[in-house]
């Protein structure tokens, strides 16, 4: 059903552009500042649907800030000032009629350190469902099972859904967080360095999960691990000091970056 996006280099520059119809998220002229300190400068890019897009860059470059702008988490911070627009499926997410809670359901987020609630595994996954309300127990059970299966966690926890989520290992907790996010049926999944706190085996499991989820969702991944970006993503955006430096197909960006800045960053890290 999704059109394979045809990358069109914009006037020979380092930033590819996508056909808007194939895109889930459109960011245009986004500038963001914490009080007086700018964090993002006039950023524009489009995130294609049903693909994995990675944001990479040195620490402090604004990749996490950009990610959190996509589900309006910055609303919590009074000091943040924002200019420009972000559109989800054509709709401006900052429009006054937009209900933020519903936006955040559609654009789910997984954080760096696993943060399951101090509840049972079942209650964690069902949390979002209970918010929506009006669901019978059987229906909820089905969805919980489906979500845990999608997150590749079902087999490990099906015997102990009632036990506390904090008894799980780090990798399992992160998959639980993914499961509870999937349960509310988002369209986009934002992942902020989801495996940086995990061991290598759990990391590989998460990466496999990301690849599998592509068919249902659009995924945006922030990572400082370039091998991970190379393994998992279809498209990669390189940010530096709040600016979008280069944005292209992952293979191309890593093997043949157009800008020397990009090359310096990539080779410096890979060495």
């Amino acid at each position: 059903m999704s059109v394979f996006p045809s990358p069109r280099p914009a006037a020979g520059g380092p930033i590819i552009d996508f056909d808007p119809a194939a895109c889930c998220l459109e960011i245009e002229g986004l500038s963001l500042a914490y009080g007086e300190t700018p964090a993002l400068r006039d950023l524009s890019l489009r995130v294609p649907r049903h693909r994995v897009t990675a944001f990479i860059g040195p620490s402090g470059c604004g990749k996490s800030t950009l990610l959190r702008a996509l589900n309006r988490l910055h609303d919590l911070n009074d000091e943040v000032r924002l200019a420009g627009s972000i559109r989800l499926e054509g709709q401006d997410i900052h429009a006054p009629e937009v209900e933020v809670a519903e936006l955040r359901r559609r654009v789910g987020m997984v954080f760096q350190a696993p943060n399951p609630f101090p509840m049972s595994i079942y209650d964690n996954v069902a949390f979002g469902l209970r918010l929506q309300g009006g669901m019978r127990k059987r229906q909820m059970d089905d969805i919980v099972e489906w979500a845990l299966q999608s997150a590749a966690l079902w087999d490990e926890v099906k015997e102990r859904l009632g036990s506390s989520a904090w008894t799980l290992s780090g990798g399992q907790q992160q998959r639980l967080v993914i499961a509870r996010t999937l349960a509310v049926r988002p369209e986009v999944l934002l992942l902020d360095e989801p495996a940086s706190a995990l061991d290598p085996i759990s990391t590989l499991k998460i990466e496999e999960l990301i690849r599998n989820l592509k068919s249902q969702l659009t995924l945006v991944l922030v990572t400082h691990n370039m091998q991970q970006a190379a393994r998992v993503s279809d498209y990669t955006a390189f940010l530096q000091e709040g600016e979008l430096v280069e944005y292209g197909a992952t293979d191309t960006l890593f093997t043949n970056p157009r800008l020397s800045r990009t090359e310096n960053y990539i080779t410096g890290r890979m060495a």
């Binding site: 589900n71 809670a101 559609r106 350190a113 101090p118």
Partner: protein
């Protein structure tokens, strides 16, 4: 600084650290000394003290309990204070005796102590028990006495029940409108009371003080009798237990020199309960507002500082505020609107349960607010973000994730508030307590909870008895006991709060947000 504290003091530290260490020791010594004093004097009061028969050099005899011994000024020896009771025979209940003048002191097993409703206690010997059936003497008299006292107790209880639960409410209802059925009920109750009176009367005790004076004592005025020198240790322990129980369950008697503090306990608990009902929602709400909803700018910071400072404002100031705003202001207005027919006798325009609870709620509000805020700050941001990222509204995030995690901290705050309120007396002197309010503000009559009534309070009771009582020496043991009770309650509450807080920190072990 924590890495600094090593257990060893190298040789050349000098003398000063020892003063510092001594300060800790002295403070702890004072604290434990105070607790020990209260415990010994307070609990010791209920232990049946031996009764001494003292024969003086000049031939006088007296029977009394030793209270204390002091040296006479100028080094002239020592003297002892005896509680000799027998106010009706001697006119006074205390005797100071110079130790040098004591020829002999013994503890005869047949000496008797009677606790009476009039004239206080009696020390002496039981000669005989007389009633319509005849006269019993000697040991048989003692057995008969104990039996009769048991019966008497049951009769007294029935009479008190009839009086308080039946007659008084009936009289009140009849005042509002005559009703033949009610009047008949009242008549029947009164008749039963007269019947009980008759059964209780008619028995006399023949008593003799140790120096030979005789006394005829109506039995119905006697509450308890025991022979302290003939009691075994287990019997004394049982008597001690009963004494403590009576202290907790009875009301005060004989101008607060005997009886118990039950109305004060009830009043204190009731007031504290009402206060918690008011302070918890408002304190929690304000804490949530300051921490979660309000824009975190300079204004919020100032408000936070102001709230914490208010915790340091003297409690008497809150009392003044309560008097001005609640009692005279709102209370006076309520009286004008709803109780004008009772004026100039004030209903709500004077101190009472409601105003006292509200004033103390205001006093302890900062405690609850601060505890709630600390609890909220301890909930890590990533939990909040996790909830929001799943599509929760802010209120849903608060109610489903944050507040459950904060519940123990809020509970700690309420417990600390209760502990503080239980001990505050100064504001209550202005807004609510009574010296003697034997009727507790809760009874069987609508609206069941009488918010406008004055009530007794443990702390105020201590002050009142210690400073406005007649015979302070006689009331002193009960004041100790009341003080011990109050201190125990407060210590237990504080320990609970500390334990909760400790348990919280161990469980969460997270870095606070601010």
């Amino acid at each position: 600084m924590s890495r600094f504290g090593r257990a060893r003091l190298p040789r050349g530290e000098g003398p000063w650290p020892w003063l510092a260490a001594g300060s800790v020791a002295l403070s702890l010594l004072m604290f434990s000394g105070l607790l020990l004093l209260l415990a010994v004097r307070g609990l010791g009061h209920f232990w049946p003290a031996p009764l001494s028969l003292v024969a003086l050099e000049d031939g006088r005899l007296l029977a009394g309990q030793v209270v204390r011994e002091e040296r006479l000024p100028g080094g002239a020896g020592r003297e002892r204070l005896y509680l000799t009771a027998n106010r009706d025979l001697d006119g006074a209940i205390w005797s100071w005796v110079a130790v040098d003048e004591i020829a002999e002191e013994s503890h005869p097993r047949d000496l008797v102590v009677l606790e009476r409703t009039r004239w206080g206690s009696f020390h002496g010997r039981l000669l005989a028990l007389e009633d319509a059936a005849g006269r019993v003497e000697g040991e048989a008299a003692w057995q008969a006495l104990q039996e009769r006292l048991g019966e008497l107790e049951a009769l007294r209880r029935e009479r008190a029940h009839l009086r308080d639960r039946v007659v008084v409410p009936l009289v009140r209802r009849l005042e509002r409108g005559a009703d033949a059925a009610l009047a008949a009920e009242l008549g029947a109750a009164n008749a039963r009371i007269r019947q009980l009176q008759a059964r209780m009367g008619g028995t006399r005790l023949l008593l003799e003080s140790v120096d030979g004076r005789r006394l005829e004592q109506p039995l119905e005025q006697v509450l308890r009798a025991w022979r302290p020198n003939a009691m075994s240790a287990p019997r004394k322990l049982a008597a001690w237990g009963h004494g403590v129980w009576r202290f907790l369950s009875e009301g005060p008697r004989a101008a607060n020199t005997a009886g118990g503090v039950w109305p004060a306990i009830f009043g204190t608990v009731l007031m504290v309960l009402l206060m918690s009902v008011v302070v918890t929602p408002f304190g929690v709400l304000a804490g949530i507002y300051l921490n979660e909803v309000a824009h975190q700018g300079r204004f919020t910071r100032l408000v936070r500082i102001a709230v914490r400072n208010l915790a340091g404002v003297p409690s008497i100031v809150y009392g003044v505020f309560g008097l001005g705003v609640f009692v005279y202001g709102i209370g006076g207005t309520l009286d004008e609107w709803f109780f004008a027919d009772q004026l100039p006798s004030p209903t709500f325009g004077t101190g009472g349960l409601l105003w006292a609870s509200l004033t103390l709620a205001l006093l302890t509000l900062p405690v609850v607010i601060v505890a709630t805020e600390e609890g909220l700050a301890r909930v890590p941001d990533h939990q909040r973000e996790g909830a929001l990222a799943l599509g929760a509204t802010r209120v849903e995030m608060l109610t489903r994730v944050v507040l459950p995690m904060t519940a123990p901290a809020m509970l700690t705050g309420v417990i600390l508030a209760v502990a503080r309120a239980a001990g505050e007396v100064a504001p209550l002197m202005l807004v609510g307590v009574a010296k003697l309010a034997p009727q507790v503000p809760v009874d069987g009559e609508f609206p069941f909870l009488h918010l406008e009534q004055k009530f007794m309070h443990l702390g105020y009771h201590i002050y009142d008895v210690a400073f406005h009582g007649g015979d302070v020496e006689a009331a002193l043991p009960l004041v100790y006991a009341t003080a011990l009770l109050l201190v125990l309650v407060i210590l237990v509450l504080n320990l609970t709060a500390i334990f909760l807080r400790h348990h919280l920190r161990a469980r969460h072990g997270t870095v606070p947000r601010r």
